[in-house]
């Protein structure tokens, strides 16, 4: 299993959508961590575990730009089948990411 801990591997305080918006953006997370790890998991045909513990919050623009983009790129079913979320501190974070993967576009929500 391939693992990502957002707090450990990226930041405890995720930011907004794009790099030009400021630090710790969803775009940076997507390009530097999420997409490479997802492809690594795909290649090895194993699950990708995303640990959402240790965060101050999980802003929707961050989620949209990372998990939403991944869903648009790879397909919601593919992503849902591959990713396992760990969110003991606050289960809402995992629900939020799953909802974003299911409906990444604004009009669908």
């Amino acid at each position: 299993m391939v693992k990502i801990s957002i707090a450990r591997d990226f930041s405890k305080n995720p930011g907004a959508r794009h790099n030009e918006d400021g630090n710790h953006s969803g775009e940076a997370f997507f390009n530097n961590i999420l997409l490479p790890k997802f492809e690594e998991a795909e290649k090895s045909d194993v699950k990708l575990e995303v640990d959402l513990n240790g965060l101050y919050g999980f802003p929707s623009s961050f989620v949209s730009e990372s998990f939403g983009k991944l869903s648009i790129l790879k397909g919601a079913d593919q992503v849902n089948a591959r990713i396992v979320f760990v969110s003991d501190e606050n289960p809402i974070r995992a629900e939020k990411a799953k909802a974003e993967i299911k409906n990444p576009r604004k009009d669908e929500q």
């Binding site: 305080n13 918006d21 400021g22 802003p59 648009i72």
Partner: protein, 356 residues
């Protein structure tokens, strides 16, 4: 003869050394150091003003400074959230005087109510060079001791020149973001103030952090119609009584409705002829149906405001308001209110409290 002179000099030196140890001497020297520091701060303030008004000469700045300020008394209830129209009217009057190149005495001596949001708006307006128009302003803290404490401990004096030295109260964070960006570190600092003051323990209050990030992001992307000059935002965290923490987050951009892009020609026309008022678009705004001016990723954008609205319903938020242009919205209830005066900007205000 020489011996006598040395003896005399020795006496003078001893007397001087003795004086140097006295409280009076130290106090006087201390005052002089403080005066020098204040003068240098004041000079810097003048230089800043001068830089802002490069088109006018130093003598004009001096003449402007020497004008007697016009006294303008603030509304007794000096609270932007609870007395929005009167406060907006007050700032309109101040703005008109600045436009006429008058200096202003911002008289808040006799206010009976002063809230953190009004203090934050005051400093933001005064530090806005477009608003102050190269004019000078004076003022002092309210007479009421409790209100004076709110005012002096806010951090207001960090941004203005003052003879007095005022320390910022514990937990008060008054921050102006000059890089115009989303700064998660500031969101964390202000989050921690609320967490410590209101709850007294670490908890996972994601909504509070997420609201701040969405507010910053919203300002960064939408506050200014000119994309080359995104406006700056302010945040003020004030730990109030009864473990309530008050947050004010705002920008002095153009306001949400002013920056809104109307989708179809017919609606645009009806807005122009004032058939549609801004308040009519509130449901669309709260549901995230207002189209963003940012073209990039438009299909997945527009989730910020709905997220703020959704989070505002959380019981830990005691109050939650959004004031933009001529509309004030109570986000807890969803009720909009038509304002008589226009606010150029977007102001979010919320309070958190612990529920037993």
């Amino acid at each position: 003869m020489r011996r006598k002179t040395n003896k005399l000099l020795g006496k003078i030196r001893t007397a001087y050394q003795y004086k140097r140890r006295s409280k009076k001497w130290r106090r006087r020297k201390g005052h002089r150091a403080a005066e020098r520091a204040a003068k240098s701060l004041y000079d810097r303030h003048l230089r800043e003003q001068e830089a802002l008004n490069q088109q006018i000469s130093w003598s004009q700045v001096r003449d402007q400074r020497n004008k007697i300020p016009k006294d303008l008394a603030a509304p007794q209830v000096f609270s932007f959230v609870h007395n929005t129209d009167e406060v907006l009217e007050y700032w309109e009057q101040v703005g008109r005087l600045f436009e006429q190149k008058e200096n202003v005495f911002l008289n808040i001596d006799n206010v009976t109510q002063l809230t953190s949001d009004a203090v934050a708006l005051m400093i933001a307006n005064l530090k806005n060079p477009e608003f102050s128009n190269g004019c000078f302003f004076v003022g002092r803290a309210p007479r009421d001791r409790a209100l004076a404490k709110v005012f002096t401990q806010s951090g207001f004096y960090k941004y203005v020149w003052s003879r007095g030295q005022f320390s910022v109260g514990q937990g008060n964070i008054l921050h102006r973001e000059t890089n115009h960006k989303v700064v998660p570190e500031i969101a964390v600092s202000t989050y921690q103030v609320g967490e410590k003051h209101t709850f007294g323990e670490a908890l996972h209050f994601d909504e509070l952090y997420e609201i701040m990030i969405e507010c910053m992001s919203n300002t960064h992307n939408h506050a200014s119609l000119n994309t080359k000059d995104p406006c700056r935002w302010w945040i003020y965290t004030y730990p109030a009584e009864n473990n309530v923490t008050c947050y004010s987050f705002f920008d002095l951009g153009v306001g949400i409705f002013q920056s809104m892009r109307t989708k179809d020609f017919f609606t645009k026309f009806l807005r122009t002829v004032k058939y549609y008022r801004n308040i009519d678009f509130v449901p669309d705004l709260l549901a995230g149906r207002i189209q963003s001016r940012i073209d990039k990723d438009n299909e997945i954008r527009g989730k910020g405001i709905p997220e703020i609205v959704k989070h505002s319903k959380n019981d830990l938020f005691r109050a939650f308001y959004l004031i933009t242009n001529d509309v004030k919205i109570n986000l807890k209830t969803g009720e909009p209110e038509q304002l008589k005066h226009n606010f150029r900007g977007t102001f979010f205000y919320w309070e958190i409290e612990a529920r037993v």
